[in-house]
């Protein structure tokens, strides 16, 4: 069988929650154990983000999948709660290593089954939040914005350092030459046409996952997962819209206007962003009132890696 390639996404339903059920949630439940075997190594910038959090911080991993960042967080003395839609993946996540029990045993991680737009967290409970390779599975701009809002809402809002920080990763439309994802092959082929004409690239795609034949089966199965591929600037715009909808003043980079903020004004500052290995990422922080810039620590891209 030839290797399946990504294809343009045609929503199977006008209701995005129904469409995502068959093109995201059902797929992850079906491929969870196999998917998890392929997801071990933490991505370096996320490792660095976690390592820069103050020890004993409590964080949220929204769209945690198999919980590979639980292990990373545990190694830096952090506590992290995994949120995901997939029961199959959470069952793997809770048993990830890195959480110390008594007598040297491994303890279980805390997991919550919910959507990325889950708004049930009490405000102010998390010191940091990450959402890695998850928000691109939501099929409308509003649903993606609500996911970012849901990530910001439970963050601790402090009037002094350390401020609560967040990091978001999504798949990029702009694929590097060394990419293994081959998104450039995505093309619209009219019905009945066998040769792929040169046509528009599309941002909303179905990406195949090949599940090799299991015992008792003769043929491998191909599952199609929905992705929204982000273009340059789109992730920043998404974070800004979500922040404005939540009533934040959005500060850019070394914007000094923080000085005019009053004590109860919520602000969100984008600390760094970039493109790395076919993904767009963004790191930000939130706080209240005047921005304290003393003892500024450099964001994760400080070694020149990533600015895109």
């Amino acid at each position: 069988m030839p290797k399946p390639v990504p294809t343009p996404y045609i929503p199977p339903s006008t209701d995005p929650s129904i469409a995502e059920q068959s093109t995201v949630h059902d797929v992850y439940e079906a491929i969870a154990p196999h998917f998890s075997q392929t997801r071990h190594k933490p991505w370096p910038l996320i490792d660095r983000f976690l390592s820069s959090q103050p020890p004993l911080s409590l964080g949220l991993d929204s769209g945690a999948g198999n919980g590979k960042y639980l292990v990373t967080a545990g190694s830096y003395g952090l506590d992290l709660i995994a949120l995901d839609r997939s029961a199959g993946l959470l069952d793997i996540a809770r048993r990830q290593s890195g959480r110390k029990g008594v007598n040297g045993d491994e303890a279980l991680w805390e997991c919550v089954r919910a959507d990325l737009g889950f708004k049930g967290w009490r405000q102010g409970v998390f010191d940091f939040a990450i959402s890695i390779a998850a928000i691109h599975h939501l099929s409308t701009p509003l649903r993606r914005q609500e996911a970012v809002q849901a990530l910001l809402q439970p963050l601790r809002h402090s009037s002094k350092r350390p401020y609560a920080r967040f990091m978001i990763y999504v798949w990029a439309y702009e694929q590097g030459a060394a990419s293994r994802r081959k998104m450039g092959a995505v093309a619209v082929v009219p019905d009945g046409q066998t040769e792929s004409a040169e046509v528009d690239k599309v941002q909303d795609v179905l990406v195949p996952w090949v599940l090799q034949a299991q015992e008792g089966q003769t043929e491998s199965q191909v599952f199609q997962r929905y992705y929204h591929l982000f273009v340059a600037g789109e992730l920043r715009d998404l974070v800004s819209s979500a922040a404005e909808a939540e009533g934040y003043r959005v500060l850019q980079g070394d914007d000094r206007s923080g000085g005019c903020l009053r004590g109860t004004d919520k602000w969100l500052r984008i600390r760094a962003e970039g493109w790395e290995a076919d993904n767009w990422w963004i790191e930000g922080e939130v706080g209240l009132g005047e921005v304290d810039r003393q003892d500024e620590r450099t964001p994760v891209e400080a070694d020149g890696n990533g600015q895109g």
Partner: protein, 124 residues
């Protein structure tokens, strides 16, 4: 696991359910106590975020009466240890969490609370 620390952070999120939506009330609970290495600094750090009354009421509903009605201004190490036990070692493996406001039931299975709602129940 639904430890009580996590329970202390979770509210009902059904559309328009704004009253009595926290804390969620446990029922038909299978409770497991798992000894966990003591980290009192972590507990101290969590104190400003804690909803004390919700925690005390919930712990008592599960049979633990070690916490006082009012949050002590200065916590002794013994009090922090009691808090560690309640927050970190009491795990609800199976059962339900019910909203006092709207009656929605969130089931807990295999230690994982299911907070999913039907699309029409989700608040925007």
């Amino acid at each position: 696991m639904v430890r009580l620390i996590t329970h202390n952070m979770l509210a009902c999120h059904v559309r328009n359910c704004n009253k009595d939506n926290f804390p969620l009330i446990f029922s038909e609970v299978e409770l497991v106590i798992r000894e966990t290495p003591e980290n009192l600094d972590f507990i101290r750090r969590f104190l400003p975020k804690l909803d004390w009354t919700a925690l005390v009421d919930t712990a008592r509903s599960l049979g633990d009466t070690t916490l006082p009605d009012e949050q002590p201004v200065e916590m002794t190490d013994d009090q922090l240890r009691a808090l560690h036990h309640v927050l970190m070692e009491m795990h609800v493996e199976e059962g339900n969490m019910t909203c006092r406001g709207c009656g929605h039931v969130y089931p807990i299975s295999n230690g994982i609370p299911n907070m999913l709602l039907a699309e029409h129940e989700v608040g925007r």
